[in-house]
C-alpha cells in the first residue's frame, strides 16, 4: 500500500452505460434504414450520408477548438445528428446541401445554445426545416433513377390513391433517404427499446393520436390503407421513433412524454390535413420541442411522502 488511495464522494460504483454508448446504439439502430436507403436510392445516398456526418463532426470539432472548449466529438452526438439529417434529405439534392445543413445544425441549433444537452430543438430537424425553407426546390425534389416521382403522401393528396401495402412497408417508394422503409425503421426502433435506450411512450402515443386524428379529420374515415399510407408513407416513422425521442428536446418524465406525444400527433395531423405541405412531422416535432419547458413545468414527479399541494419546507 505505497500508493495513495483514491478518495471521492459516494457512490463508488457506477453503471457501465455512458452517454457515448447510448449515441452509438442510436447509430446502430439507424443502420437498417441507412442500408436500405443506400440500396434503394443508390450510391448518391451514401455520399449524402458521408458529407453530412462529416460536416457535423468537423463543425463541432472546429467550433469547440476555436472556442477553447472541451472537444466532445467522441460522444458521437454530432455523428447522430449528421446521420439523422442525411436520412432526411432527398437523394436528388446537391451534395453541398447536407454540408450546409450540418453546419447549421451543429453551430446554430446546438453549439450557440451551449452544446450537448442545452439545445431546445432537435438539431437535425432544425437544420432540415432551415433547408426546407431556404432551398425548397432541392429539398422537395424526389427524383431518383432520373425519374421524378411523387412520394406516397403527394400521390395521396393529388390523386387520392395509395401505393401498394407492400411498397409502403418495405419502403419501395419515393421519399427522403431514410424515411421510406417502415420495416427497417421499426427494426431499429425495436432495437432501441429492447436495449433500453428509449422508451416507446412518445412514439406510441404520437402515432396513436395521429391515427385517431387522421381517422376523424382526414376525410377518409378509418380506412386502413389511407391511414397506413399516412403512417408509413412520409416522415412519421423516422420522426416519431428517432427524432421525437431525442432526450435533450423531449420531456423527461413519463407523464410529460405522454403529453408530448399527444401534442405531436395533433400537430402532425393538423399540418397534413389543413396545411399546404404534404409533410408535417418536422414542424410538429420542432414546435413540440419548444413546448417542452412548459410541459415539464406541470409534469415534474411528486416526491414520496410530501403532501400534495406542494408544501415547501421552511
Amino acid at each position: 500500500m505505497d500508493k495513495l488511495l483514491k478518495v471521492s464522494a459516494s457512490p463508488h460504483v457506477r453503471s457501465k452505460i455512458r452517454s457515448n454508448h447510448l449515441m452509438q446504439l442510436v447509430l446502430i439502430a439507424l443502420l437498417p434504414t441507412t442500408a436500405f436507403g443506400v440500396f434503394h436510392f443508390g450510391y448518391g445516398a451514401a455520399v449524402h450520408i458521408v458529407v453530412t456526418v462529416a460536416a457535423c463532426v468537423i463543425s463541432e470539432y472546429l467550433y469547440e477548438y476555436l472556442m477553447h472548449r472541451p472537444i466532445t466529438v467522441g460522444d458521437c452526438s454530432a455523428a447522430v445528428t449528421g446521420l439523422l439529417l442525411a436520412l432526411n434529405l432527398p437523394v436528388a439534392a446537391p451534395y453541398w446541401i447536407g454540408a450546409v445543413g450540418g453546419v447549421f445544425a451543429i453551430i446554430v441549433v446546438k453549439q450557440l445554445f451551449g452544446g450537448l444537452g442545452q439545445n431546445f430543438m432537435n438539431p437535425a430537424l432544425g437544420a432540415r426545416v432551415f433547408l426546407l425553407l431556404s432551398f425548397a426546390g432541392h429539398m422537395t425534389n424526389f427524383t431518383y433513377d432520373t425519374m421524378t416521382v411523387a412520394t406516397p403522401l403527394q400521390t395521396l393528396r393529388e390523386t387520392g390513391t395509395v401505393p401498394s401495402l407492400a411498397a409502403l412497408i418495405t419502403g419501395n417508394t419515393a421519399g427522403t433517404i431514410g424515411e421510406t422503409s417502415a420495416i427497417a425503421l421499426l427494426i431499429g426502433a425495436l432495437f432501441l427499446v429492447l436495449m433500453g435506450v428509449i422508451e416507446a411512450t412518445i412514439p406510441v402515443v404520437y402515432i396513436a393520436v395521429f391515427v385517431l386524428f387522421m381517422g376523424i379529420f382526414g376525410g377518409h374515415g378509418f380506412d386502413y390503407q389511407f391511414l397506413l399510407a399516412h403512417v408509413a408513407g412520409g416522415g412519421l416513422m423516422l420522426g416519431a421513433w428517432f427524432m421525437a425521442t431525442d432526450y435533450v428536446t423531449s420531456p423527461i418524465t413519463t407523464k410529460g412524454k405522454v403529453i408530448f406525444g399527444v401534442i405531436l400527433g395533433i400537430f402532425t395531423g393538423l399540418f397534413r390535413v389543413f396545411g399546404t405541405s404534404t409533410e408535417g412531422v418536422s414542424y410538429a416535432i420542432i414546435l413540440g420541442n419548444l413546448l417542452v419547458p412548459i410541459i415539464e413545468k406541470f409534469t415534474m414527479p411528486h416526491p414520496l411522502g410530501v403532501k400534495k399541494g406542494g408544501r415547501i419546507h421552511g
Partner: protein, 443 residues
C-alpha cells in the same frame, strides 16, 4: 409470497457471493485500540477514564452526555494511553480514548442473564442506552431514542430492516443465519415496549434462506411475520422499507414514528437482545471485510476500536494493491485515505477495491435522458436539483424538494454522463440546513 418494494431504485452488481457463505469469525486484536467519543448522532460521550487508568473489556469508559447520546465501552483490557484527536473512518478528526491493549482480554464480571418479560419499559430502554447501542446499519442514531417515541401506543409496526441492500455487505445476513433465535428475541423485546405493534422482518429476496430460518424461529408468536422484498437498491432506506411494507410515506420533516413505525437494523436488534437479556454492552460488531483486493473476503466479529489496518491483517491481508478502500458499502460508504482508523459501532463493512470506477471518467453534459428521475427512490428530479446546487440556487433547490433527498446515490450510479449528482445535492442540503440552523439561532 408477493414481493413488496418501492418505486425507482437501481439494480446493482451485488458482490455478496464473495463473503456470503463465510461464517462469522471472531478476531482478537493485539494492537492499540481507539474509541471515538462520538460513534453516534448526537452529543459526544464524556470520558470517565484518564491517562494511566487500567480498563477491562466491557467497562464503560465514557458516559452519555444527555438523552441523545450513548456511552462508550472498552472492548479489551489495557491501560488508557491518552485521550486525543485522531483520524476516524469518516475522514475527519475526532476525540478518541486510546487504550494500550495488554492482550489479557480481561473482562468485567457480567451481570446474570435477565428475564426481559419481567422488566419495565424504563428498565429496557435504560438497558439499551447503557449498552451504548446506536444504529449499526450505518447512520448511528441512538437506539434508545428511537425506542422512545412520544406516543408508544400509536406504534403499530416494528420493522426489522434485513434488506442489506448495499452491495458486498453480508454482515446482517450472517447474523440472521447464525443467530436467528437471538434476533427474534430482540424483536420480542422491542415489541414489549409497543403494546399495539406487530413485528415484521423485512428481508430482500436474495436472502430467502435467512427468511426461512427466521420463519422457523418465530414459531407461534402471532404478532411477528417475515416479509420478502424485491432485491433492489435502496430497499433498506428507512422511508423505502416503510413504504414497501406498509404503503405509508412521510417527508423529511417527519419521523417513522409519525406513521406508526419503528425501524431497526438487524444487527441493532441483535445488540438489543445482547444488551437487555444478557446485560452485554456493545463492544463488538460483525463487519464484512471484502472486495476484490482482499485475500479472503469474510465476515468478522471485531472488538470496536480495533484499527482497520490490524483488521485487514487479521483477515489475511490484501491480495492486490487496492485503488480505493471504503468504510461501509460502495453506494453510501465513504472512501478512506488511510487504514489507520478504528472500527466504530456503525462500521458495517470494509470494501477494498482494485479499481475505482468513480474516478474512471469525467463528468460530461447532462443529456436529459431521465435515468436519474426513474432511479430516484424519493421521486425527485436529481438532474434539476444538481443543476440548482451547481448554481447555488437555494430557492430553486428547495422548491423542487431538494431536502427530501436521502443521498442514496442511485442517480449518480445510473447517470450515463457520469455527473456527480448526489454529491452536488448533498452539499446543497448541508448548506440549506446550515442556513436554517443559523436563522433559528439568530432569532
Amino acid at each position: 409470497m408477493r414481493l413488496k418494494t418501492f418505486s425507482g431504485g437501481v439494480h446493482l452488481y451485488e458482490g455478496k457471493e464473495l463473503s456470503k457463505d463465510r461464517p462469522i469469525r471472531a478476531v482478537r486484536p493485539e494492537g492499540e485500540m481507539a474509541y471515538p467519543l462520538q460513534q453516534h448522532i448526537g452529543a459526544p460521550a464524556k470520558p470517565l477514564v484518564k491517562k494511566g487508568d487500567r480498563v477491562l473489556a466491557g467497562q464503560k469508559i465514557a458516559e452519555a452526555d444527555g438523552f441523545v447520546s450513548v456511552p462508550v465501552h472498552a472492548s479489551v483490557s489495557g491501560t488508557v494511553r491518552t485521550i486525543e484527536s485522531r483520524t476516524v473512518a469518516s475522514g475527519g478528526k475526532a476525540a478518541c480514548i486510546v487504550v494500550e491493549n495488554d492482550r489479557q482480554y480481561e473482562e468485567i464480571t457480567w451481570p446474570a442473564k435477565r428475564d426481559y418479560t419481567a422488566m419495565t419499559r424504563e428498565e429496557i430502554i435504560g438497558a439499551v442506552k447503557e449498552a451504548g447501542i446506536a444504529g449499526l446499519g450505518g447512520a448511528g442514531f441512538p437506539t434508545h431514542v428511537k425506542l422512545s417515541p412520544k406516543e408508544p401506543d400509536k406504534i403499530d409496526t416494528v420493522l426489522v430492516n434485513c434488506a442489506e441492500c448495499e452491495p458486498y455487505l453480508t454482515s446482517d445476513y450472517r447474523i440472521l443465519t447464525e443467530h436467528p433465535a437471538e434476533v427474534t428475541e430482540g424483536l420480542k423485546i422491542i415489541l414489549s415496549l409497543f403494546p399495539n405493534a406487530r413485528g415484521i422482518f423485512a428481508v430482500e429476496d436474495n436472502k430467502r434462506d435467512a427468511a426461512k430460518k427466521l420463519s422457523g424461529y418465530i414459531g407461534d408468536a402471532g404478532n411477528i411475520s417475515v416479509q420478502l422484498l424485491q432485491t433492489k437498491y435502496p430497499q433498506g432506506g428507512e422511508r423505502q422499507i416503510i413504504y414497501a411494507v406498509t404503503g405509508r410515506s412521510f417527508d423529511s420533516s417527519m419521523l417513522p414514528a409519525d406513521v406508526g413505525c419503528i425501524v431497526q437494523n438487524a444487527a441493532t436488534v441483535y445488540s438489543v437482545y445482547r444488551a437487555v437479556a444478557e446485560g452485554r454492552p456493545l463492544t463488538e460488531r460483525v463487519i464484512t471485510v471484502t472486495g476484490d483486493a482482499m485475500e479472503e473476503p469474510c465476515n468478522y466479529q471485531v472488538p470496536i476500536g480495533t484499527s482497520y489496518k490490524e483488521l485487514v491483517e487479521l483477515a489475511g491481508g490484501l491480495a492486490k494493491e487496492p485503488e480505493k478502500i471504503i468504510n461501509g458499502g460502495p453506494m453510501m460508504g465513504n472512501a478512506m485515505f488511510t487504514l489507520d482508523v478504528p472500527v466504530a459501532k456503525n462500521s458495517s463493512a470494509l470494501v477494498c477495491m482494485t479499481k475505482d470506477e468513480a474516478s474512471r471518467y469525467d463528468a460530461t453534459a447532462c443529456i436529459r435522458c431521465g435515468r436519474c428521475i426513474e432511479a430516484c427512490p424519493q421521486r425527485l428530479a436529481p438532474n434539476r436539483l444538481a443543476a440548482y446546487a451547481e448554481r447555488n440556487d437555494k430557492e430553486g433547490f428547495q422548491a423542487f424538494y431538494g431536502l427530501e433527498c436521502i443521498e442514496c446515490g442511485s442517480c449518480s450510479y445510473i447517470c450515463p454522463a457520469r455527473r456527480h449528482l448526489v454529491q452536488h445535492i448533498r452539499r446543497m442540503k448541508r448548506d440549506v440546513l446550515a442556513d436554517r440552523k443559523k436563522a433559528v439561532q439568530d432569532k
